[in-house]
Structures are given as C-alpha cells and as structure tokens.
Symmetry: C2
Subunit: 101 residues, 2 copies
C-alpha cells in the first residue's frame, strides 16, 4: 500500500488507532456531519456501524456512491482506495478491522 | 476445529451470526448476568466490547481467569477453546471477528 494513502496517516481527522498486531489493525473512525476523509486505502476489512448515518464514498477508480448505514450493521469491504464524507445529520461512528494478509 | 466445539453450534444461547465470508466470521455475543457459554473454540479473533462487564474464562487447558471488560475495548485473542461465564451484574455484549486464515 502506498504509505501516503495509509488510512491512519491520510485521515487523522477521523481515525484513531485502537489496536494493532501482525494480523489486524483496528481503527475507530468518527465523522461529524459534513466531515470528509481524504483519499486513503484499506486492505480487506470489516466495518461495524455504531449508529444510523449516511456516507458518500468516492472510489479512486469509480463513481461516488451513497451508503445508508444502519446501527449494528457489519459490512465486508475488499481492499480499496476511496474518499469518504458524512452526508447525514448525525455523527457516523464505525469500527474498522483491517486484515493484514 | 472439532465441529462439536464450533462457537456458533456450541453456544447458541449467547451467539448470533451476523456476517460470514471466506475470510472472516462475525458473531454478536450477548451474556445476561450469570449466563454461561459451554466449551467452544475460536480461531484467532478480535473482540470489541460494547459495555463494562466481568467475565470468567476457563480455557480447556488452563485455569479460570477473570476478565474486567471496558466499554470500547478491543482485545486480540489467539485461537483458543474455553468456557465463558458472565460474573457481573450487567449484560455482556461483544462483537467477535474470527479470522479464518
């Protein structure tokens, strides 16, 4: 992964490292309404969604898409590079479990 | 893993499957006070703790240990077989992200 796009380094405004070892990296991500995360990359990862919300995700190689997030939802995402923006009126809070393999 | 000890099959009283693919299995686990989960196995996994609580964990090959759980805590656990019991007065709620590799 290009280090400049590492999620923690590229999006310090929304990302906080909680745990890391040789298998996983776990990030707490919080977006207040209107907040954007700059272009960043993740390996394959699991998202846990803490509360309802609405995000705009813009992949580096594709068109923007809107995601309606639901409390308690778990989402699998293949490795990707994208921008992210909180389009809703509520805070978006998610747990990101990145798989290193 | 011996199928009889599979966490979902061995502990249906506390475990609910949320998501599964070829990389991960994600389980929502809830223990009311006093509830026990029978002997079961996990591969390497990440735990996310939703609220403060107290668990007794009894490994298949070791002595019981008490874990004080904190809201928002993330715990890495190597593959293990154990029993678990909620020793506290609050519900224990955790997300279990099992890694298949």
């Amino acid at each position: 992964m290009d280090e400049i796009f590492d999620a923690l380094k590229a999006t310090p405004n929304v990302s906080k490292l909680i745990m890391e070892n040789d298998r996983v990296r776990v990030i707490d991500a919080r977006f207040k309404p209107g907040v954007k995360a700059a272009m960043h990359s993740h390996p394959d990862h699991v998202l846990y969604i803490f509360n309802d919300g609405k995000m705009k995700i813009t992949p580096s190689n594709g068109k923007p898409q809107t995601m309606d997030l639901k409390t308690g939802q778990v989402i699998w995402m293949d490795a990707t590079s994208h921008e992210a923006e909180n389009l809703g009126k509520t805070d978006v809070h998610m747990l990101v479990v990145e798989l290193k393999e």
